[in-house]
């Protein structure tokens, strides 16, 4: 049997499968007219108060082609990643408001419905939006694709970890995601609660990643699937108040405040 005949036979074999046309309606979720609707800042700390540390890892992924973007290719979408975050711009927030919420609508059984936005973090041309409440959360990463539009990836992860010693409480750590989309699409998320003023992740490759810390919640992410090494929390004077290595072991290594000199 030659390839031409084989291809024809494959087409004919699958030609038996048909789908009934239906009335296609445009999605009910309207395009936003302004920025993302966010809960009041004062309520954010409570949103993660019930985050449970479950002993399983779950992952979800979604990619949408959406919105009009600046037209840069996916190969460069993560190339601009930077270790220090910025606030997502208005366009990114608009995309998140539409597509991340659409994703939550489509996964009501698992996510329980719409979750409030609790943190946002842009690095280069891609931005991560964290939604969470109680034991459920969604990381929604938005980045340009090579169609001149954007892709959005949803990712959730939970892992059994002891709460860190007073200053850092970890809700999501690591994980990676790969979806059938052009260009690199793995990314790692670290997310939780902290009373520190600044939090830095020392990665195993030597890069120091500064987390977004806002209203008691922190988040950081990076492309690829490389791990972190140490989490370091600082107070508002720049003093280290906690150091942990959750990637290696669940060991918590609190840094005690320096004791006053005995005057000897």
């Amino acid at each position: 049997m030659n390839d031409e005949q084989l291809v024809a036979d494959v087409r004919r074999a699958f030609g038996r499968y048909r789908m009934e046309p239906v009335a296609i309606a445009e999605p009910a979720v309207p395009m936003p007219t302004d920025g993302v609707a966010r809960p009041p800042l004062s309520g954010r700390r409570g949103m993660l108060g019930g985050l449970s540390m479950v002993g399983v890892a779950i992952a979800l992924a979604v990619a949408f082609t959406l919105g009009v973007g600046p037209g840069h290719g996916p190969e460069s979408a993560f190339a601009g990643w930077q270790p220090v975050p910025t606030m997502p711009d208005r366009a990114m927030r608009a995309i998140a408001d539409t597509e991340c919420h659409r994703f939550m609508d489509g996964n009501v059984d698992t996510l329980g419905g719409q979750l409030p936005l609790v943190a946002q973090d842009q690095r280069g041309r891609a931005a991560l939006f964290m939604f969470g409440e109680n034991s459920k959360y969604l990381a929604c990463l938005v980045r340009p694709n090579d169609y001149g539009t954007y892709d959005a990836f949803g990712y959730g992860s939970a892992r059994a970890l002891e709460p860190l010693n007073g200053h850092i409480e970890l809700a999501a750590l690591g994980g990676s995601l790969n979806v059938p989309s052009p260009g690199p699409s793995d990314f790692v998320v670290i997310f939780g609660r902290t009373d520190a003023s600044k939090l830095v992740i020392e990665r195993s490759d030597g890069v120091d990643v500064t987390a977004t810390v806002s209203d008691g919640i922190f988040v950081a992410w990076w492309p690829g699937n490389g791990g972190g090494r140490t989490l370091i929390a600082y107070d508002d004077t720049g003093r280290v108040i906690e150091s942990a290595q959750p990637w290696a072991t669940p060991c918590i290594c609190r840094v005690e405040p320096p004791t006053p000199s005995s005057g000897s």
Binding site: I24, E26, P27, V62, T65, Y147, D151
Partner: protein
């Protein structure tokens, strides 16, 4: 909101592309119900952005990419792929070789995706590579392996049947 004139163009596209896209998603995912959901969602998104999709180099490629990505959004660890191609009540014009259908269905995932896009949806190697996020060379290699598997399996089957 999409204007009526644009919707009219969409309807023609929808009517022509629905079955080929569905077949490709069905084979790529091996999940009949999810495939239908993903195809519905992809066409709905195409309608929403029809002014842009309609001028895309290949609107079918746009739709299949969205459909495959949408399928990925399901909680895959709780989903099971169908081990066999779905049985349907259909009177084929010519007899269908059940071995062929089953052998294609059981190809490795990437080979199935390439067969789905290159053969069932008739995308170019470049469009297939772009949709799957692999190189054009990899598309050719996967297709070559898939066709080789089909030839060898079907040849062996024919031989076995003839020997009985």
């Amino acid at each position: 909101m999409t204007e009526p004139a644009e919707v009219e163009g969409f309807e023609t596209f929808y009517r022509d592309a629905l079955d080929p896209v569905y077949r490709a998603v069905l084979l790529a995912t091996r999940h009949p119900e999810r495939a239908e959901d993903a195809v519905h969602e992809a066409f709905a998104r195409a309608l929403e952005r029809w002014d842009r999709v309609s001028v895309h180099e290949n609107p079918r490629a746009w739709v299949i990419r969205v459909a495959l990505n949408h399928h990925t959004s399901s909680w895959r660890i709780w989903q099971r792929e169908a081990p066999e191609p779905p049985e349907i009540a259909v009177q084929d014009e010519l007899p269908i070789d059940p071995w062929l259908l089953r052998t294609v269905w059981r190809l490795p995932r990437r080979q199935r995706q390439v067969v789905a896009l290159r053969i069932l949806l008739d995308l170019s190697a470049e469009q297939t590579a772009e949709t799957l996020g692999i190189t054009v060379g990899a598309v050719g290699a996967h297709l070559h392996r898939a066709l080789g598997t089909l030839r060898s399996m079907l040849g062996a089957t024919s031989f076995a049947e003839a020997a009985e």
